[in-house]
Each structure stands twice: as structure tokens, then as C-alpha cells.
């Protein structure tokens, strides 16, 4: 139970239930779809990118608590960031979930996103936590292909 609470922290449960930046974004100029066929999670991510800066973003779709919360917190963290910073943050986030031991510096850089560090102990769920981020990369790349994680 205790390490389950580590995975399902209050912040994650909250964002899973009440995702932020959720809904349509008519003025978006970038968009990508993400799909995890294993669990049926599907999201659409939309961005307003101007002069290399992510000015606004939102998402729609359905998924597990981990994937919805992760995408929700991602949107919060990225607003106002440059494209380069957004991609760098993805690298840090991915590193936290997959590399041996994230350094305190890395965790600090991730700020609120560090609540997902517990996902590292559930390798099957890493895809859930990164679906939104992979979709972000596709949107930044302006790739029309659906992102599929499995």
C-alpha cells in the first residue's frame, strides 16, 4: 500500500481526475495524436507555437490516471517555454523514468514532474507516463503520423 501511494500520489490522482488545459484549442497551429494500443489510451495534443515559443497548449482524450495526469502536468510545465526547452524537458523526464538513478539536479529541474518518479518501479507503466510527451515531440516535429506506443 505504501509504495502504491508513492505511485498514485495526490497530485497524480488530482490531475488524473481533473486534467488542466483540457479541451479544444481553435487557434492551435500544431497538432498530433497519440495512441497506446495496449490500453486503448488516445490523446490529441494541440499547440500554439510562435517564434519558437510554445505560447499555449491543450489536450483531449482518455486514458489511465498516469497518462492523463502526466499530460496534464506536462501542459502546465510547457506553457511559455521555447521549443528547445520543451524537448530538453522531455529528455529529463524520460531519463527520470528509465535511467538508473536520477540526480538531485535532474529532479529539481523537473520540479512538479518529479511526482512521476515512482513510475520507474513499474516498467509496464512508463509508456503511460510518456504518451503525452511522445505526442508533444510529434507535434513539434509537425509529424502527421499518429504516435503509437506499445
Amino acid at each position: 500500500m505504501s509504495d502504491l501511494r508513492e505511485l498514485y500520489q495526490e497530485v497524480i490522482l488530482d490531475h488524473g481526475k481533473n486534467p488542466r488545459n483540457f479541451g479544444p484549442l481553435p487557434e492551435a497551429n500544431r497538432q498530433a495524436h497519440g495512441h497506446n494500443p495496449l490500453c486503448g489510451d488516445k490523446i490529441t495534443l494541440r499547440l500554439v507555437v510562435k517564434d519558437g515559443v510554445v505560447e499555449d497548449l491543450s489536450f483531449e482524450g482518455a486514458g489511465c490516471a498516469i497518462s492523463v495526469a502526466s499530460t496534464s502536468l506536462m501542459t502546465g510545465a510547457l506553457k511559455g517555454q521555447t521549443e528547445a526547452d520543451a524537448r530538453a524537458l522531455f529528455e529529463d523526464f524520460h531519463g527520470m523514468l528509465t535511467s538508473a538513478d536520477p540526480t538531485p539536479d535532474q529532479l529539481e529541474a523537473l520540479d512538479k514532474l518529479a511526482v512521476f518518479s515512482g513510475v520507474r518501479d513499474y516498467p509496464l507503466r512508463v509508456k503511460c507516463a510518456t504518451l503525452g510527451w511522445h505526442t508533444l515531440n510529434a507535434a513539434l516535429d509537425e509529424s502527421d503520423e499518429m504516435v503509437v506506443t506499445e
Binding site: 502504491l4 498514485y8 486503448g40 489511465c64 498516469i66
Partner: protein, 416 residues
């Protein structure tokens, strides 16, 4: 177990059965008892199956149908004995009507490819049900895309029961085949397969039955059913993975071209012309899964030692108990409420994704399946992306259900 637990039949001693499955003695991470509720995905193996396979590998192994030496003869005898066990298990007339494949998927692909190309032309129709496993959808779609046949889907109602009126209306003079599951893996529904076959035959169509989820739970007699093709997969029947079965009526199989070419399936080969071996070898190109087939034979022997009527009564008692417990919980919905079901419960918990349910249950050593169960049309019918599925095996007991119920309560505690 609480007071409402039904009385179990005396002749089925589930605690004795549990001793046959070595994995049930193992502890899961955190020292948890294993609550294995995913037999519908793949069954655990009884010790006798494991022993039969290691005995062949250890002492009786050689390639079959080739060597003139003792060991090759021994392995061939065991392999062919396994075929006769499957024949007996399905009630087939001849052992040559039993073709060993890799799994149910390959058996269906064999029929779709070999029978399909030889017998169908553009515009011909095949009827499927809405609750087929992807293995009984995609091979027919491949054929559709290759030769332009049409797939007609017979719908299910909101209990997950095939709507027989609608099924009958699917037939046209162009209907050539019905490909239908005997038991739905996502819902547990048992289809009235004898009637389904009769109706198809009345319309001059053949029937392929996907029995993957049926044979572990009930006695099947392909002759009494008059099934034209009947497929199942070994790993769900307490046998090893990598072995499956296609039963086909002899005259149908004889008229079909080979599926794959290679060794074992030929009579004579020159570069000008090859003549094919007789059944069943015509459809068993290359070295087969020798030990897998023998393991499957051992699984059938194991099932023969069990009073299957008593096992069925036990399974139905478990199912009733589970449904009663889950129905009494708030915010839990069950999908698949057919009157005729196997021991399987597909459910969702409001506002909690099945993947989260699966992770939390896993934490207590409870293994369930969370996902679309390779039956996305069923998920679409009920408007859910996925469900959590608990499915019973011979070794399942009331403690397993109690663990599941406690696990669901914990999920709800975490999520509300």
C-alpha cells in the same frame, strides 16, 4: 469467504487441484499469495505437463517421421499419440482430421488462406460475430483485401448475447462461411453453436468455430456439432504455448491446397512437380512443435483425470459468487451478462482506468487482464476503451475471489 458463499460440490476438491500447479506455491513480490485470475489469456501448467515435456527433451527426443532409429520412432509415436488424444478430446472421426498448428491464430489463417483462396471469389460473403477475437477477424480481412469478399457482422445485444434473428438475416445466396466463436474471450458468452451451425448449413454455408475459450471449460464433440472446422490453442488448455489445433472434416481438408510448403508435407519432389503428402501431413510443413504437441497430449490426459462436470459446477459457483460480490459494490459495472457464460467477469470501476486497476491489483499479487482483450469491436459495443477481466481456471477458489473483491475496494479507496 462470507456467509453467502454457495455450497460447493463435494466431488471437486479444488485444494487438491491447486497442488497440481507448482506456480501456485510461489510468492509474488512483497510475499503475496498469487491470485491468478488470467487463465483466459493463458493457463498455468500442471506439473504433469511440465514433466511430460521434460521427459521427452531429457530422454525421448529426436526429429519425427524421418529417422529409422529407435529414438525417432519413439518421438514419432508420442507425437502421433498426442494427435489421437486430441482426436478423442474433440470427438473427431479420424486422427488425420487433426492438424497441429502454432496456435488458434495460425489455424484460422490456414483456413482463410487455403480454403478461402480455393473457394471464394469477389462478392462472396463471410459472417462473423461482433464478439470475435481479432484472430477471427483479421485473417478474413486480409482475404477480403486480396480477393474482394465481404464481411458481414452478426450483432450482439447489451448482455453480450448473439442476436439470433439478426444472425439469420445475415445470410444471402453469397454467404459461404460463418466464422464464429464458441465462447467470447472478452465477455464469457457461450454461443448456441449447434444452432448457429445448423442455420449456416441450411443456407449452404460452412462454419469455422473458434473454440479457444470453449475447450478449457466444456466437453466438445465436433461430430455432434457438425462443425466443418474447429480450432483451439494449446496454451489456454493447460498445455504449452506454440501448439494449436485445426480440426477439419476430411473431405474439406483433402480438397484444400497446402498452406505452406516444405519438408514433411510432400510425397515426391522434383523441380518440375511436387505431389503432396496425405492428411494430416499436407498441412504440417517443416519440423513441427514436437514437444509442444506431446505437452498438449499430457494436458488432455490431465483433464481426463478430472471430473469435469464437478469442475464446471465449481466454476459456476465461483462465477455466481463473483457476480454477486461485484454487483453489490458501488460504481462497479459488469460487461457480459449472458445467461450462458464461462467463469469470466469483465468489469470496469467508474472513473478508474483498467490499467490503474491492474497495477493496484498486481500490488496484491492479483493477476488480471486489463485492456481490450483483442476484441475491440466488443469494447466499442459497450462504449469503453478497455475493461478489467478476471477469469477462472481449474485451480481458482473462493479465496481468489475474496482477494479480488478486497483489491477492488482498495482501488476505490485510492481513487476517491
Amino acid at each position: 469467504m462470507n456467509e453467502t458463499t454457495p455450497i460447493i460440490t463435494k466431488s471437486f476438491d479444488v485444494q487438491a487441484i491447486r497442488k497440481d500447479f507448482p506456480i501456485l506455491d510461489d510468492l509474488m513480490p512483497g510475499g503475496k499469495r498469487l491470485t491468478f485470475l488470467d487463465t483466459a489469456a493463458s493457463a498455468q501448467k500442471p506439473q504433469v505437463v511440465i514433466d511430460a515435456m521434460s521427459r521427452v527433451y531429457g530422454h525421448e527426443y529426436a526429429n519425427i517421421h524421418r529417422g529409422v532409429y529407435h529414438l525417432s520412432q519413439l518421438a514419432t509415436d508420442h507425437f502421433e499419440a498426442a494427435r489421437r488424444k486430441v482426436q478423442g478430446f474433440l470427438g473427431a472421426k479420424f486422427d488425420r482430421e487433426i492438424i497441429f498448428t502454432r496456435n488458434a491464430t495460425e489455424a484460422i489463417n490456414l483456413v482463410a488462406t487455403s480454403w478461402g483462396h480455393a473457394n471464394l471469389k469477389a462478392g462472396d460473403q463471410i459472417i462473423l460475430s461482433e464478439m470475435e477475437h481479432h484472430a477471427n477477424i483479421v485473417p478474413w480481412q486480409l482475404l477480403r483485401d486480396q480477393i474482394g469478399i465481404e464481411l458481414v457482422v452478426a450483432p450482439i445485444d447489451d448482455d453480450g448475447v448473439l442476436i439470433l434473428d439478426a444472425y439469420q438475416k445475415c445470410f444471402t445466396p453469397k454467404t459461404k462461411m460463418v466464422a464464429m466463436t464458441h465462447v467470447s474471450n472478452a465477455l464469457g458468452t457461450i454461443t448456441p453453436i449447434a444452432d448457429i451451425i445448423q442455420t449456416a448449413h441450411d443456407h449452404g454455408a460452412l462454419v469455422l468455430v473458434d473454440g479457444s475459450q470453449a475447450v478449457p471449460h466444456m466437453h466438445v464433440d465436433v461430430v455432434a456439432l457438425d462443425a466443418d472446422f474447429y480450432v483451439f490453442t494449446g496454451h489456454k488448455l493447460y498445455g504449452p504455448s506454440g501448439i494449436g489445433v485445426l480440426y477439419g472434416k476430411e473431405d474439406l481438408l483433402n480438397a484444400m491446397p497446402p498452406y505452406q510448403g516444405g519438408g514433411e508435407m510432400i510425397a515426391t519432389v522434383t523441380f518440375e512437380k511436387t505431389t503432396y503428402a496425405d492428411l494430416p501431413h499436407k498441412f504440417e510443413a517443416g519440423t513441427p512443435n514436437i514437444v509442444g504437441a506431446i505437452g498438449l497430449g499430457a494436458a488432455i490426459d490431465y483433464l481426463d483425470t478430472i471430473d469435469r462436470d464437478a469442475a464446471h459446477a465449481h466454476e459456476m459457483a465461483l462465477l455466481a459468487y463473483t457476480v454477486e460480490q461485484l454487483t453489490a459494490m458501488n460504481d462497479v459495472r459488469i460487461y457480459g451478462t449472458a445467461p450462458e457464460k464461462t467463469g469470466l467477469v469483465s468489469f470496469t470501476i467508474d472513473a478508474v482506468h483498467p490499467h490503474d486497476v491492474g497495477t493496484i491489483l498486481d500490488h496484491d499479487g492479483i493477476a488480471v487482464r486489463a485492456g481490450h482483450h483483442c476484441a475491440q469491436p466488443v469494447m466499442d459495443h459497450f462504449g469503453v476503451p478497455a475493461t478489467t477481466r478476471a477469469s477462472f481456471g481449474l485451480h481458482s477458489d473462493f479465496d481468489d475471489v475474496d482477494a479480488l473483491v478486497a483489491g477492488i475496494k482498495q482501488v476505490q479507496e485510492i481513487f476517491c
